[in-house]
Amino acid sequence: MNALATFFYQRQRLGLALLLALPLAWLVGFYLLPLLALLLQSFFQLDPFTGLVVRQFTWATYRQLFIPAHLDILGRTLIMAGLVTLACGGLAFPIAYTMTHYASPRLKGILYVMVLLPLWSNYLIRVYAWKLILAKEGILTWLIQQIHLEALLQALLHLPGIGGPSLAVSWLGIFVVFIYVWLPYMILPIQAALERIPVSLIEAAADLGSPPQQTFWRVIWPLALPGVVAGSVFTFSLTLGDFVVPYTLGNSSYFIGQAVLSFQGTSGNIPLAAAFTVVPMVIMILYLWAAKKLGAFDPID
C-alpha cells in the first residue's frame, strides 16, 4: 500500500490523471457531447411536408424563434424569470441576513432545516399541493373569504397579465409557486456569502463613521453580491427551463420549457426544440458576462 502511495507521489501527474479520468469521461460523454449535439440540431430544420429533419446547416430554425407566437413565449418566460428572481432576492436577503447576524446557533440550525426541508420532498407533489391551496375551493380562497377580502381577490384576478379564472389558473399563482420552489436556492448562496464577511468589517465601517444604511450599501452589499448573483443564476435559469409549474397552474400560454417539451414530443420538431433550449443558455452566458463586467465577482478574486 505504501509502495503504491510512493509510486504516485513520484508521478504526481499520473495520479492527477487517474483521479480525473472518470469524472472527465463522464462530463465529456454525457454532458459536453450531448450539448454539442443539441447545438448541432438547432442548425438543422424540419421539412414541413415530410416531417423529417433535414440535416443541412441553416439559420431557418433560429429565424422561426422570431415569429410573434414564439417571441411571446420567450418574452413571457423572461419576464416571469426576472420577476421571480427579483422577488426571491428581496425575500431571501433579510432571511439570510437574520440567519447570519441575529440567529443563535440553535435558531440558525432550525432555520437551515426550514429552508432545506421542502427540497427533501417531491417537487411534483409540492406543486400539486399548491394547486390545491390556490384552487377556487382551496384553503387560501376560503381564508380570504373569512376576512372578507373576496372583492379584492376578484379585482386582482381580473387584472390582465396577473389574473386568471382562479388563483390556481393565473399568472399570479405561477409567480407565487415559482418563488416558493426556488427560494431556497437564493437563500443558501446569499447566506454563505454573508457568513464569509468578517464582523470586524462591519464594525470598522461603523467605527469610520458610517451609519447602518451606508455600511450596508458600501460594505455588506458589494461583498454579498457574488452570493446574490449565484442565487439569481439558480432562480433565473430554473424558471427559464421549468415546464411543470406553468403546465400545472397556467392556461394554454406556453413557457419555454413547455414549448421545448411539445416541439420535441408531439410535433417531432427537434431542431426548433433545440433552438428554444439554446436561448436560455445564451441568456445565462450574457448574464454572467455582464455580472463579471460589473465587478460582481471581484470580492472573490
Binding site: P198, E203, D207, L208, G209, V219
Partner: protein
Amino acid sequence: MSDRDNGIPAIELHTVSHYFGSVKALDQVSLRVEGGEFFTLLGPSGSGKTTCLRLIAGFERLTTGSIKLYGQEVSALPPYARDVNTVFQDYALFPHMTVAENVGYGLMIKGIPQVERRARVQLMLELIQLPDLGERRPAQLSGGQRQRVALARALINQPRVLLLDEPLAALDLKLRQQMQSELKSLQQKLGITFIFVTHDQEEALTMSDRIAVFEGGKIAQVGSPSQIYDHPATLFVANFIGVTNHIAGSLAQQLTGSPQPFCLRPEKIRLAIEEPSIPDGWCHRCGILVDIVYLGVYTRYQVLVDEQTAWQVVQQNSEGIPHPPLQRGQTVHLLWSSQHHHYLPDVGDPWIEPPIKDPESIP
C-alpha cells in the same frame, strides 16, 4: 495638548460593568486616561481588556456604568457617532476597495470632496511610508503593510482617541519591534491619545506612559511601567509582568526574621560559586542548581533553596558564561540586597509556590 491643560480626561470610565449573557466580562471598572497619553490595557486573554476597548469604541453596549469622552457621556451613542477610531487586530481592511479607498473611507463618509480627499489620503500614505501602494488591494499587501494601512485609515479621521486592539499580534518579532517604536514615535508626533490593548507584557512596558493590568474583569493595578514592574500591587501583577520569586512562610522567617511574604525579582539576585562576603543589609542563601537556560543576553537559572522552593535567578552574560561552566546539581550561593524585597500590599493572597518534587526530574 490643550486638552491636557484643561484637565479633562480623554476617557473616563466610571464603575463600568459588562455581561455577556450571564458571564461577567467587566466588573465595576473605573479608569481615567489623560489627553495625549499612551495608555495600555494589559492582561491575559479573558481578563476584560478587549471588552473594555470595545465598550469605548461602542461595539458593545455597556450593561451599567458610564463612559465619558472628553467630558461627554458617550455610552448611549452608536460607534459612528463617537469621535474615536479603532485599529483592529485582524486589520479589518475592506477587501473590495483599494488601499487608497480604504484609507479615504472615513473622509468619504464625512462628504469631503474627492480632490481634497485624494490629497489627504496621499499625505497619509506618505506618513506610513507606503506612498506608491494606493491602487493595490489589501490582499496584495504583506502583513506589516496591512497593519500600516489600518493605522492610516484610522488616523486620517484625526480622532481624539485612537483605540488599538492587539494590532501587532500577527506580526513576526522583528517587524513587531520595529512597529512598536514607529507607533510610539507617531503617537508622540501627533499627540493623539492612544489606548492600546495587548497581552504582551514586554510590549506594554516598551510603549506605554501608563498601564492598567486587568485580571478577571477587574483592574488589578494602574501605573507607569516602572511602578508596575518595581512595585506590583498584587502577586498576580508581579507574576504577569515579568517573573518573580514569591517568598513566604518559614523561608521568609529565616531570611528576614518575619513571616511576612515578599517578592524578589530574579535579576536582583547575584549568583556565586564561592561563598561570598556578605555586605551589610544583604541577604545570602545557598541552593542547588537544577536548571540552566542560556538565552544569549542572559542566562536563567533555577535554584532549589529548600525542599520545595525553586527560585528563578537571572544573570547577564556580560562577561561571557562563567568558567568553569556551571553544572546541574552544583551548590551555588545567592546574594541580594534586602532593599529589593518588595512587600505586597495584599498579604492575604493565598497563592502557594508549586512544589518541586525531585530535582532530578526537572528536564
